[in-house]
């Protein structure tokens, strides 16, 4: 990712865009933080928030006309927040002291004319920047014009505020006739720039260009006049706009005096439309909190109550629906930066590795984001980059990749025309996890398809390569698909029928020339097998696998089938295009098992109904956290030997291997009359273990075949240790990258296993 891409990605996430109030305010006061403080009664902090942006907040806060309120999002659900009234309350209730610093003095001198709001703003801004500011008041009392214009400002209040200016170093000169041309001529040599506050100075006779109606010509935004050193503004009705024009003039004057660009970086001055999106779902319309005494303004409790109505606008739409995005404590814009840093620095940081590898790549964020931010694209790209640079920690995906290698290997891979035929119109590709979870259903489905489609449906057992794709291992993915393609071509390029939505997406995205259909659509077309109309199970809550997100036709076909089966369906809150991943996607279960568990628990808790899924992995993931879940095939091919299929537990990793291997050998024998070559001898070893031992091994990712291999080698004369009292044996073996230790004892049938553990370090020595 280069700097350009980084910026594009960052820009897409709008979470850091200002809320509507700030964007609408001409001077961009952080009204959201301000109101947030008032919600908690933090008057002083609210005051400081105002004072950070507002000049002379003690003055302006009392008379701001709140043009932000017109754009307040709350106004779309009841009344807008009474921000102006809250400002007034805050000025009253806070200990309003200015924490102002003045930059070191600059040699330039500024003349500010008039003591209206815009002039005071100019004076405030420029004195703080270190300029020498003299304020010329035509009358005798600076501030009198303010008291006249705004009755709520008493002379005492104004005097205090003006004293702050004086403390900062503004010099006041009163009783000067500023409007005459003589004033300008006299002072041109002594001052480097001038500001005319048109809200305070009348009938100007200065030699400046004028408009049609005799008003001084001003360039809106820069507030420049026809003379480069003279600026003007304030000739508007709104208080906050007077302040804004003063502010813009001060910025222009500062740039003028420093001889830098007058316009650069000023695109967001003044009100604009923010890109921030804030959802109003679940927001109940509320009227504004009334004031008991309109003259006195909001009381403390009233102000807090009104402030509490504020939505504290955020986006966070994706974080709201994704435990992964929530888990890392930030939001996509921040994550982009972390991932970029992970790449561009020679050695990445651990937290970014986990961030990159924990995403399920399901695309829900993109589906809910107003700007289509696709975290999955970002993470996949980062994984590929890590793999290319050799920075991918091996343990992140190793187990899943070894499982894929098993599916692609001799023990499971199979490609045949239908028994007794020499060509195939269709090819059934059930996928590795349906075969691993419910091999009997694979058989039943294959049989039915052949009946329904004229008997020339071939069968391929294997893997589409999705684990390698998710792991960012493009070479391994290409190899897996190439293997698939080689056999598909050898079978005569038949129409593909897939039972797994992930396989479906892989073929759709990477082999568009292959005609592919979901088995659910096929069944919806050709019809279901005949069955006794059972008492319909249900209502069932339907869980769509995340890989059907962009395949509404598949989701619809499944619902038609369930309807045919007489099942009433309840839709989960996030369903269809917005479905959630079960935690297996993107290899989340491998890279971040704790997060995956959290993800599936949340999914399971969404509804009290039993679920129905049509992906074997989703079904098993739900079952693993104790959620009663049916697979659609449990309803289409009910198995009398399993009275309560919704309670069927998730087969562990060892069982998944066994199911696949046995499916191949049994089908080859029964259907194609082939006896497969025997597997390695150690697979014949009989091992028994108590259920808790079996669970422990499954959790530690230690397969039964690993245990068999260790025991076989040990019994054939390898390294063994014996416990003289218990008679147990302990032995070790290192078939690949991991050393397995197994504690066992011979028993009647074979061997009983009591424990097993593993490590990657290698022992040096004899």
């Amino acid at each position: 990712m280069d700097q350009n891409e980084l910026r594009q990605w960052e820009r897409r996430c709008i979470q850091e865009e200002p809320p509507a109030c700030t964007a609408a305010c001409p001077i961009h006061v952080d009204a959201r933080s301000f109101v947030g403080h008032l919600q908690q009664g933090r008057w002083d902090q609210g005051w400081q928030t105002l004072a950070r942006t507002m000049p002379l907040a003690g003055l302006v806060g009392r008379i701001c006309d709140g043009s932000c309120e017109a754009r307040c999002k709350r106004g779309e659900a009841g009344d807008a927040i009474r921000i102006a009234a809250l400002e007034q309350a805050c000025v009253r209730l806070a200990r309003s002291e200015y924490r102002v610093t003045r930059l070191p003095g600059r040699p330039k001198r500024i003349a500010v004319l008039g003591a209206g709001l815009s002039s005071l703003t100019v004076a405030w801004d420029l004195v703080r920047k270190g300029y020498g500011v003299t304020l010329f008041e035509p009358g005798d009392v600076p501030g009198a014009v303010l008291c006249e214009a705004y009755p709520v400002l008493t002379p005492e209040i104004v005097a205090v505020e003006l004293a702050s200016l004086e403390t900062l170093g503004v010099a006041f000169e009163t009783g000067t006739a500023v409007h005459g041309q003589a004033f300008f001529e006299d002072r041109r040599d002594r001052f480097d720039a001038f500001y005319i506050g048109l809200d305070a100075v009348a009938s100007l006779q200065w030699p400046l260009d004028r408009g049609a109606r005799g008003e001084v010509w001003i360039d809106t935004g820069t507030q420049a006049t026809s003379r480069p050193e003279v600026f003007a503004g304030g000739d508007v009705l709104s208080t906050i706009w007077r302040v804004a024009q003063g502010r813009w003039a001060a910025t222009s004057m500062d740039r003028f005096l420093q001889k830098v660009s007058m316009t650069a970086g000023r695109e967001r001055e003044g009100p604009y439309d923010t890109r921030l999106y804030t959802s109003l779902a679940d927001v109940v319309a509320q009227p504004a909190v009334p004031m008991a005494d309109a003259k006195a303004g909001y009381s403390e409790s009233e102000a807090m109550a009104e402030a509490s109505r504020c939505l504290i606008c955020q986006c966070l739409e994706c974080v709201k629906v994704c435990p992964y995005l929530e888990n890392f404590g930030a939001y996509p814009r921040k994550y982009v930066r972390e991932i970029y840093n992970n790449e561009s620095i020679v050695m990445g940081s651990r937290s970014a590795n986990l961030l990159i590898n924990s995403c399920s790549l399901c695309g829900l964020c993109e589906a809910v984001c107003p700007e289509d931010f696709a975290m999955q694209d970002l993470c996949l790209q980062a994984r590929r980059s890590m793999v290319q640079r050799g920075k991918m920690p091996p343990s992140a995906h190793e187990f899943a990749l070894e499982d894929m290698a098993f599916s692609l290997g001799e023990d499971f891979f199979l490609a045949r025309h239908a028994p007794g035929t020499a060509e195939s119109s269709h090819l059934f590709f059930p996928g590795c996890h349906l075969s691993a979870s419910a091999p009997g259903q694979v058989e039943a489905l294959y049989t039915h398809l052949n009946h329904a489609l004229g008997g020339r449906v071939g069968l391929m057992l294997g893997c589409c390569g999705a684990p390698a794709f998710w792991a960012g291992r493009e070479a391994d993915f290409d190899r897996a698909l190439a293997q698939w393609q080689h056999h598909w071509e050898a079978l005569g390029r038949p129409k593909l029928i897939v039972a797994c939505a992930t396989c479906h997406v892989v073929f759709h995205d990477h082999r568009p020339e292959v005609p592919v259909q979901s088995v659910w659509e096929t069944l919806a077309e050709v019809g279901l097998p005949p069955m006794e109309t059972d008492s319909a199970a249900g209502p069932l809550a339907i869980h769509d696998p995340c890989t059907t997100r962009e395949m509404p036709h598949v989701q619809a076909a499944v619902r038609r089938l369930l309807d045919q089966l007489g099942v009433s369906i309840s839709e989960l809150p996030l369903s269809g295009e917005k479905t959630e991943c079960c935690g297996f996607g993107g290899l989340m279960q491998n890279a971040n098992p704790d997060l995956a568990r959290e993800v599936i628990r949340r999914r399971a808790d969404l509804s009290g109904y039993d679920y129905v899924a049509y992906c074997a992995m989703c079904r098993d993931s739900l079952a693993a956290v104790g959620k009663r879940t049916l697979h659609l095939l449990d309803l289409i091919f009910p198995d009398r030997r399993i009275p309560d299929p919704a309670a069927r537990p998730r087969p562990g990793w060892s069982a998944r291997r066994e199911h696949r291997a046995r499916l191949k050998t049994e089908l080859l024998e029964r259907w194609w009359g082939e006896t497969p070559s025997g597997g390695p001898d150690y697979r014949a070893l009989v091992v028994k273990m108590a259920p808790d031992v079996r669970e422990r091994l499954d959790a530690r990712h230690i397969l039964v075949e690993d245990v068999q291999q260790v025991i076989a080698r040990a019994e054939a004369g390898g390294l063994k240790f014996r416990h003289p009292e218990t008679g147990r044996v302990k032995a070790a073996g290192r078939p690949r990258h991991v050393t397995f230790w197994v504690e066992y004892a011979p028993c009647e049938a074979g061997f009983e296993v009591f424990n097993a553990y593993s490590h990657r370090m290698e022992v040096q020595g004899p």
Binding site: F721, V763, G765
Partner: protein, 70 residues
Amino acid sequence: MKSDKDWGDELAWHCSACDRPLELGQVTVTYMNNSFTTDMPRCPGCGRVMVPEALALGKMAEVEKILEDK
């Protein structure tokens, strides 16, 4: 660091080949170009080492993670 009595369980095991009880000995383990030594049960006769479960699941696992994290 473990005291001798904590090793009681592990030292009850015998090396099958030599039929001798294991004794604590200095063992070197390596991973990703780093080596570490510690005491582990080993056969005083043939030198075969038995890696205890607590070690494998404890500091071995923690160190493997540190070194792997790139």
